[in-house]
């Protein structure tokens, strides 16, 4: 019995349901990194992101036989992840407001300088690498500060590369609404990082 060298997600899930554990490993390999970043930018904490990523894939294991193939696997997977993130956000709603004294995170989840420190040290950067590192941090912060409905659209598009139609299926809104949210997210991101306009020009 020959296997397709690049089987679709749905085919891999079908094989897993028939007892092929390797098919599931392939699926995990395809989706774990974008999904982890989608969750991480949604919940903003690495420990929560770790738990939620495990929960998402555990639900896939448990409910894989419920997947009927009426939609794409990625749509089904991100629907699970989105619902878990929403549940988590509801639980953490009282911790949403960040204090100026609260430490910010670096990409690795380590504690970084406070927003107050950043405001005080805002100035023209001279070192290109330092500027690039700072820009990535600011981009991550700006993305995390997006409204939830814009952020999830932005992340699904930029992290997972999902089409707008598929995003609309996950979010449950019309496709045009998804496109509008995407446009608002990009405009907001551009405004949040105007200080880096010159550097961004160099990126063109």
């Amino acid at each position: 019995m020959s296997h397709d060298p690049d089987p679709s997600d749905e085919e891999l899930l079908r094989r897993f349901n028939q007892g092929d554990a390797d098919a599931f490993a392939t699926l995990v390999g395809r989706y774990q990194r974008p999904l982890y970043n989608f969750i991480l930018r949604s919940v903003r904490r690495t420990d929560r992101a770790d738990e939620l990523l495990q929960d998402v894939f555990m639900k896939v294991v448990q409910r894989s036989q419920d997947f009927k193939g009426n939609s794409k696997f990625s749509t089904w997977l991100y629907t699970i992840a989105r619902n878990l993130c929403i549940d988590h956000s509801r639980k953490m709603v009282f911790r949403r407001h960040k204090s100026l004294d609260a430490p910010t995170r670096s990409d690795g989840g380590d504690e970084g300088p406070t927003l107050l420190d950043r405001q005080a040290s805002d100035g023209p950067a001279t070192d290109r690498a330092v500027i690039a590192e700072s820009l990535r941090g600011r981009i991550a912060d700006a993305v995390e500060e997006l409204p939830e409905e814009q952020k999830e659209v932005f992340l699904m598009r930029h992290v997972q590369g999902m089409a707008f139609k598929e995003i609309a299926a996950v979010v449950g809104v019309p496709e045009n609404t998804v496109k509008s949210r995407m446009r608002y997210a990009l405009e907001r991101l551009q405004r949040a990082l105007e200080d880096y306009r010159g550097y961004v020009e160099e990126l063109k």
């Binding site: 554990a21 990523l53 894939f57 707008f164 496109k179």
Partner: protein
């Protein structure tokens, strides 16, 4: 194309999701409109920033647990490898249905028992069977379903005064108390002490409510009790025989236990000096009539046992005693009353029973409840409900252990209903409805009474309206 339309589809142009024709139109508008160029430049810059979004790596080993779970799930879902032994075992599993008929002795029965066993092993079935068993046991205890009533619920279980239910006569057979009155002190003492007493000491007769039948033995007949009968008087021999017979065979309709604490009896005991005789019979209350001599009781039981009142339902009249030694006039009157009662000569029967009740002979004490009951019935039969009610009330108050008490309550209720005293009728019927033997009948009577009560409620209103109509007619005239 307007700027607004361009803005709406700007993201599609940015991410190259437009059809070729639409893309050309969009780019043409972009070349023409400065506002469109500015707007597109903002989202384009935002997109370039978004592409710089750093992506974090998944921590190593984070999904090891998930993968282990996936492997377990995959192993469970994987179809079992079809090997030759497996095929054989599958064939063996399918075989019993075909192999068992070969064992002709146990095959059919074994299969049936297996099927029954598998069915009975289900917890739902077990619970249903348990419920059915409980219902069956409960119904078995209902006399109406059993057909027979070994517990003798027809005989007694009368509500005692104070609405307490007395013990069943069949469970607690009445036994004569081994007590007697000390003739010297007038106090009750164990009967065994009698042997030590001098036989010549006169004994004071007692009332039927207060003591046993031996208390009424004439003074000259009292002798030292000889267990073996040697030296006993003939009266005592007869008395012992009667006692033995009475103890062993307590018939329905008899008064099984007489109230020992009748205040009048106790007062009489207190007032009478040892050996003092009672007053004339005509001056005594019927309830205080002395018990007949044992000899008379014994002879009466032997002569007329089995004479039952066929007209009564669930009530057997007391055996008619025969006349003995000139003391059986009350018994004869009772017998005559019964004959007249059966002959439906109710008025004459009522007079006979009243005579027994008012002037009982020494042998009539055991007949009193039945005599009173039949007197009340006779009075009721001739339409003297007022007299019947009084007789019924006397019977119910005087003989709380009388086995015909439930019937008497229903009959008294009927009399009250005829007299228009519906509340009294209801009270009697409600008490009777608590006695299982007549409960259904009492309920029927209660229903009938309720109808009478509703009719009585409607009657005043209709009478008023009927009375008003002539008045209005007179006014019109």
């Amino acid at each position: 194309m307007e700027d607004e339309d361009f803005t709406d589809r700007m993201v599609e142009l940015l991410y190259a999701e437009l059809p070729a024709s639409d893309e050309e139109a969009m780019r043409a508008h972009l070349a023409r409109s400065e506002a469109a160029r500015e707007a597109f430049a903002r989202v384009e810059e935002g997109q370039r920033l978004a592409e710089q979004l750093p992506l974090s790596e998944v921590p190593a080993g984070l999904l090891d647990g998930v993968m282990a779970a996936a492997r377990e799930a995959a192993a469970e879902r994987a179809p079992a490898p079809v090997s030759e032994p497996a095929v054989q075992s599958a064939a063996e599993r399918a075989a019993p249905a075909q192999a068992e008929p070969a064992d002709e002795d146990t095959g059919a029965w074994g299969g049936f028992l297996q099927w029954i066993g598998g069915f009975a092993a289900r917890p739902q079935f077990a619970m249903a069977m348990m419920l059915l068993l409980m219902i069956g046991i409960g119904m078995w205890y209902l006399p109406d379903f059993r057909g027979t009533d070994p517990a003798g619920s027809q005989a007694i279980i009368d509500p005692a005064p104070g609405d307490e239910v007395g013990p069943s006569a069949s469970l607690q057979p009445a036994e004569p108390l081994a007590l007697e009155t000390d003739p010297r002190t007038g106090r009750i003492r164990p009967r065994a002490e009698e042997e030590a007493d001098p036989p010549t000491t006169p004994r004071r007769p007692s009332t039927p409510e207060a003591g046993s039948e031996t208390d009424a033995v004439p003074v000259d007949a009292v002798a030292v009790r000889d267990p073996e009968g040697v030296g006993s008087t003939p009266e005592e021999a007869l008395r012992d025989e009667a006692e033995a017979e009475t103890d062993d065979d307590v018939g329905a309709g008899e008064v099984l236990t007489e109230p020992l604490a009748d205040p009048r009896a106790l007062a009489l005991q207190t007032d009478l000096a040892p050996g003092q005789a009672l007053a004339a019979q005509g001056e005594r209350a019927p309830a205080l009539a002395p018990s007949p001599p044992p000899s008379a009781v014994a002879s009466a039981q032997q002569a007329d046992r089995g004479a039952a009142d066929l007209d009564s339902v669930g009530i057997e009249s007391a055996p008619m005693p025969a006349m003995a030694d000139g003391q059986g006039s009350a018994s004869a009157t009772y017998a005559r009353g019964m004959e007249r009662y059966r002959a439906r000569e109710y008025r004459a029967a009522a007079e006979d029973f009243a005579s027994v009740v008012q002037r009982p002979g020494a042998d009539a004490a055991r007949l009193l409840p039945s005599a009173m009951h039949h007197q009340a019935r006779s009075e009721r039969a001739v339409g003297s409900c007022g007299a019947a009610v009084r007789t019924y009330e006397g019977l119910l108050a005087r003989y709380p252990a009388y086995s015909g008490r439930p019937e008497a309550m229903i009959e008294a209720a009927d009399c009250y209903r005829r007299l228009g005293q519906l509340s009294a009728a209801r009270r009697h019927l409600e008490r009777a409805s608590q006695v299982p033997s007549v409960a259904s009948r009492a309920q029927q009577e209660l229903t009938r009474l309720a109808m009478a009560e509703r009719a009585a409620d409607r009657q005043p209103a209709s009478a008023t309206s009927v009375a008003a109509e002539p008045a209005e007619a007179a006014t019109e005239q």
